[in-house]
Structure formats: structure tokens, C-alpha cells
């Protein structure tokens, strides 16, 4: 028992360490950006992108990256012969720190839902990467419950569904039933490239291209997988829609 108390005192709040201690993010693989002044639209990245996320805009004859399909593999920046694609350290619109995000979110949740937001997570055919990141929201570093967000065991208790994966044929019915079981008003967030667009698994015989082919989706959270911070940001965005 003494040892346990010692440990509790030794790490009183690891939670705050995370945003306060910056990492070396120079290598962090975030969102790719095409610098149009260097890009010659040669199409090398378009043919080599494994998830077909880079598309040509025929009107302007420029290349654009579809964030929802991007799997953040950084291959495009490596193959570009003109060095026009830069991988930014930005993992999806996370200008705010985790704490700032959480505090804003807490205020909104109090206003819209009384006190807390209940979330049901559904895996509709992911590689389990996104699920581990959603799980990580509960770890002592992120500790999402302090913002009034709680993961529940049944869709009947849920205000929001966090759906990962590409809506496989075998999960389609279960996903629909889960959605129908959640009481109105409800929100749906598509988490990760697969849920947003099918990601790398698009056009498969066994799955659909993203969950919006099955359910109405309120917010898309790109990433492969998105970081816990990006998921939190997505939840914040979703609440704005109510």
C-alpha cells in the first residue's frame, strides 16, 4: 500500500505534461501541402499515391490533395521531382493546445447537453489504429473525462457515434442498427481516412467507400490514424452543428 501511495504522489498529474512539453516535431508527419509555385502538375504524385488522394483540378490545371482520402504516408513529398510537396507538422487543424481545445469543448457541452457528452464508438472495418487512438483519449495523458466526455457501453445512452473503418459488407447492418438505436438528436463523426472516404481500402468488393454511404455524417476527421488531439477537435466541430 505504501508503494501505491508513493507512486500516486510521484506522478500527481501526468495529464498536464503532454501539451506543456513540446516534442521534436520536425519529423512529425502531418498534412501534406502542395506549393503551387513549384508544382508543374507533372502527375508523378497522382500516379504513385497509394490511396488516390491527389487529384487534378481540370479547371485550373493544378493538383489538390483530398484530406479525407490522404493516409499521411509522406510518399508524395519523396517522389515529387520538383520538391513542391511539403509535409507540415500540422496534424489536422490543431492550432490550439489540447487544454484550450478541451476547455472550449467543456463549455459547449455544458451549454448544449447539460453536463456531459456520451459517446459510443463503432468500428466498422478499420485496421484498429483509429480505435487505439480513441482508446488513448482515456489514458492519463489525455484524460478526456475531465472535459465531460464519457464513452458508454450502449448506443442507447449515446449522444454521438464515433465511427472508424470503411463500412465493410459484414458490418453494414450492425452499423445501421447501432445508429438507429441511438436516441435523437445524435451526431456522427467519421474518424480516419477509411471512415471518411474508404482511404486505402476504397473500391473493394468487401466494403463501401466510407461510412457516409450508409449514415448521415456530421463531421469528418481525416488522418491515418488521426491523433487524439485531432479527434477531440473533430468532436468540438461536431457539437457546433447542433
Amino acid at each position: 500500500m505504501f508503494q501505491v501511495i508513493k507512486k500516486i504522489i510521484q506522478y500527481p498529474r501526468v495529464t498536464q505534461d503532454y501539451p506543456a512539453k513540446p516534442f521534436d516535431t520536425s519529423l512529425t508527419s502531418g498534412k501534406p501541402v502542395i506549393h503551387s509555385e513549384k508544382c508543374t502538375a507533372c502527375g508523378e504524385c497522382v500516379t504513385r499515391c497509394p490511396s488516390g488522394a491527389i487529384v487534378e483540378n481540370v479547371d485550373t490545371n493544378t493538383l489538390e490533395i483530398n484530406d479525407n482520402a490522404c493516409i499521411f504516408c509522406v510518399l508524395c513529398s519523396e517522389v515529387c521531382p520538383h520538391g513542391a510537396i511539403e509535409i507540415t507538422g500540422e496534424f489536422e487543424l490543431a492550432q490550439m493546445t489540447y487544454e484550450e481545445l478541451g476547455t472550449q469543448l467543456k463549455k459547449k457541452i455544458e451549454k448544449r447537453f447539460g453536463r456531459s457528452l456520451q459517446i459510443r464508438e463503432v468500428d466498422s472495418g478499420s485496421c484498429n489504429g483509429c480505435d487505439y487512438e480513441i482508446n488513448a483519449l482515456n489514458n492519463p495523458f489525455n484524460d478526456i473525462e475531465r472535459f465531460g466526455i464519457h464513452f458508454v457501453a450502449s448506443p442507447r445512452h449515446a449522444d454521438m457515434l464515433l465511427v472508424t473503418g470503411t463500412a465493410t459488407r459484414n458490418m453494414e447492418l450492425a452499423l445501421l442498427k447501432t445508429y438507429e438505436a441511438a436516441p435523437n438528436p445524435k451526431l456522427v463523426a467519421a474518424v480516419g481516412a477509411c471512415a471518411c472516404s474508404g482511404g486505402i481500402f476504397q473500391d473493394s468488393y468487401a466494403a463501401k467507400n466510407g461510412i457516409d454511404t450508409v449514415l448521415p455524417v456530421d463531421v469528418y476527421i481525416p488522418g491515418c490514424p488521426p491523433r487524439p488531439q485531432a479527434i477531440l477537435y473533430g468532436i468540438l466541430k461536431a457539437i457546433d452543428r447542433l
Partner: protein, 535 residues
Amino acid sequence: MRFMMNKQESNSMNNKQNELFARFPELSMSEIHGNTLYLESNASSYHTICKDLNGQLAFPLVSMFASDDRERTGSFTIHTVFANRQSGILISVALPVDPSTSAFPSLCELIPAAALYEREIHDLFGLRPMGHPNPKRLVFHGNWPKNQYPLRKEFPVNQRPDFADEKIEFTRIDGEGVYEIPVGPVHAGIIEPGHFRFSLAGEPILNLEAQLYFVHKGIEKLIEGKTIEQGFYFSERISGDETFTNSLAYCQAIEKIAGLQVPVRASFTRVLFAELERITSHLGDLAGICQDVAYGFASYQFKMLRGWCYRIADELCGMRFLRSVNTPGGIRKDFIQGKEETLTKLLAELKKELTETEAIVMHNSLFVDRIENTGILKHKIAVDLNATGPGGRASGVDFDVRKAFPYEAYASLTFEVPVQSDGDVSSRMKVKLAECFQSISLMQQVLEQIPQGIVREEIGILEPYRSAYSLTESPRGENIHYIMTGENNTILRYKVRTPSFCSWPALCHAVSGNIVPDFPLINKSFNLSYAGNDL
């Protein structure tokens, strides 16, 4: 270094080859490639060969799959793979299957573990295993129409047939007072989907049938015809928390086909990443075990340590799941350069904290009482079903791919393989804890011994119709990938057999006789991957 056999290996290889020739003089030894023997067989010799390899020589069945070679040879081929773990050799037996009959002899009678593989082959290729005791559907549920076989070459990858409505029956246990509990596919926790059908009498579980493949995405079909480069990204997305080990197996198979040896610095770096992935995975499992018995303090302690591992990953490559690190021919960048000191410090912190946590947790008698004698996987069942990794080692299966089929820099590093014999949750927890320390030690050794140099070689264009097997020890056990190249630097056939595929049936045996509330605990102690099984 890896696939160039040293003298001892090549001697043992020759002995094995001679032994096999003596046994089957009619065999044509078609090819020997690195550590793999390729044998040709026919409908009459197939059964005898498999019986001898598995029964008399006691080589376990490690993989079995089909390939559609009608365009080249006019027939389908069944590849049945056995492993000689003493001398580190794979034996792949090929059996041509005539498309007009589409039938092949089942091995279930000889090898119980073959049952699942054969059901999978039937669903994906439409080849019927003759004499299979229970040939019901595996990959597809009732919604898939009959006579549609997606892995046949003529089936277009994006064809989505209409939903059928067939009911697939579960195994029924009859008797007075026997009832069923259906669970899933959407579970109470934040985990992957799968359906569990428990049959019970009173409290104890009589039988558990797991219906999986809810996350079947068709990876093996999607990858066909893709370039070597694009295929790599599929291998990274087979199972999220086994990203590195799967990408490593893919790269090794490609390098083996190309006859390329990766630079020494890259092979050391790969060990570091593979061990980081192992310890991250194990710490998550340990946290889960503690959480499922409501031991909050210990659970948060392990979750914190897992968080520290993510910090190391971020420090190294900026990817929490170690994606975009590997590449066929080496690794993408020199990730370790200039970070040795920080890493050494972080590893020392991790080791100290883990030692202190272990002392507290494993001396809590209330906790130990709950995990001992729970969910026992018998040694015999573990061997028969080829349960490997921590689940197998906790039941006395003394096998580790890193020792038996050394790859990358493992041969030049020192480590032990922890083995327990009781096969309960406690044993699996002990094995995982011990492996965490071994992983830390391996990472420290890498940082001390890693030589300077380049980290990447170019692969170039691969010859068509060359194939290779590669093995890695994933956090969950023995992981086998098979690649056959096609024309224009593409992939013709990719077969992944992750350890979860073999261990799911073992888990179903381990829960027999336990009570339903202990199921989450037993499940977590194995922590098998649904995505890795369903593909």
C-alpha cells in the same frame, strides 16, 4: 546476412533435403530459395507428404492458402506450408487443383489446424475441401451470394454483389438447462467487432464459437495488380498496432525476391522499431488485464508507460504507429542519428518505472488470486492449433521466430525467450512483462552496437513470377507473409497469415469451463487482432 545461409545452416539444409529425398524418391524438388524448400506434389502423394511432414517429422502446419494460376499453368494451386523450427526451414508443398473439379483432399483428419485454412480457401476461391468435417462459411456471412469467389482472377475487385439472405447456424449444444448468450459484433468497450456465441449450463461456459470477419476488407484482392511500392502501404494497414512487424514482413519478402541485403544500419534500426512496437503493444495488454479486474491504479500505471512509449515513437519518427518508417530495401531516413542520448535516457526511465510497477502489481494477492487458474490454454491444444507468441509461450510452446528464423540484426543481439507452463492469465501476464524487459534490453543493445552507414538500398525492377515467404515475430506471435510478383513490378498474390488467425480457436478453447464475466479478462490476456485475422 539474413538469407545468405552460413555453413551450419546450409549443412542442416542439405541434411533435411537428403532426408526428404530418401523418404519421397518420386518428388521433384523444384526450388530451394533461402530458407524455403518448395515441393511439388499431386493428388495421390499430397496426403502422404503432409502426413509424413506433420505426423512423423512433427513439423507444424503454419500456413495454407490457394492461388489462381490458371492463366500460367491451367490450374489452381494449394500451398501447404510446414515449418521445421529446429533448423529454421519452411517447407512449402504445392498441390495443383483441376479447375473442372475444383476439389482437393482435406487435411483435417491429420491436422486439426487445417480446418480454418480450408474453409477460408473455399470461401475465397471456391475450391472444395473433400472430407472436411464442418465446411461452413468462414470469411463471408449470410449476406454473400453463393458461387461468387472474389480471389479468382476473373472477379473484378470493385464488384459488390447484391445482398443475399442466408442464415448461418452456430454450433448448438443440446441438453437440459443449456442456454446461449450472443455478444457483439458491437461490444461495450472501444474494441473491434466480432460476434461471440456462448453456450452455458449454469455459470460455466460449455462452448464458445467466435464469428469473426466483420472487418474483412479484401486486402489480399486489393493488393493484386498494385505496384510493389503501393502494396507496401496495404501491409502497413493490416493491423494498426502491428504496423511495423507487418511492413517488415512485406519488405523482407520483397528483398528476398530481389536478392538484396539491407544495409547493416537499417537492420539494427528495424530491430529497435520492432521492439518498440512489441513493448507498446504488451503494455496496452497489461493495462487492459488490470482494467478488466477493476485494478485501476495498475491499469493507469501501465497506460502511462504506454504513453511513454508513444513519446519515444514521436521522438524517433513522428508517427505514433510507426508508419512510413520501413521501405523495401531499408528504412526511409536515418531515424536514430543524433537521438541516441535522449533515447537511452527515456529507456532507462521506462525500465525503472516498469520494474517498480511490476513489484507492486505482482505482489497484490487479491489481483494474483483473480488471474491465476483463469482461462487455461492446455499445452496440447496450443501445439495442435499452432498458438504462438506470448499466448503459446505461456502454455509451454518454447518457440520464437527471432530465435528459430533469425532475421535482421537479431542474430547478433542477446536476449531470452520467457516461457511459462501453466497457460493461465497469470502466465501470459508474466510472459508479457518479461518480454517488455527483453525489449528494453534489445533496444539498449541496438543503441550501443549500431554501426554508421547508409540505411537504404534501391530495389529496382523485380522479375515476374518469383515468390518468397518471410517470417517475423509480431507482438502476438509468428507472422508469415507470402508474395508472388507479377508482370511490370506488380504483385500477383499476397497472403498474410498473422498469429491471430491461429490463436482465435485457441482462445475459444481457453475459455471453456470459465464464467462469462472472466471472458473479457481472458480475451485481453491474449489480445488478438480482429483486423489482422479478417484482413
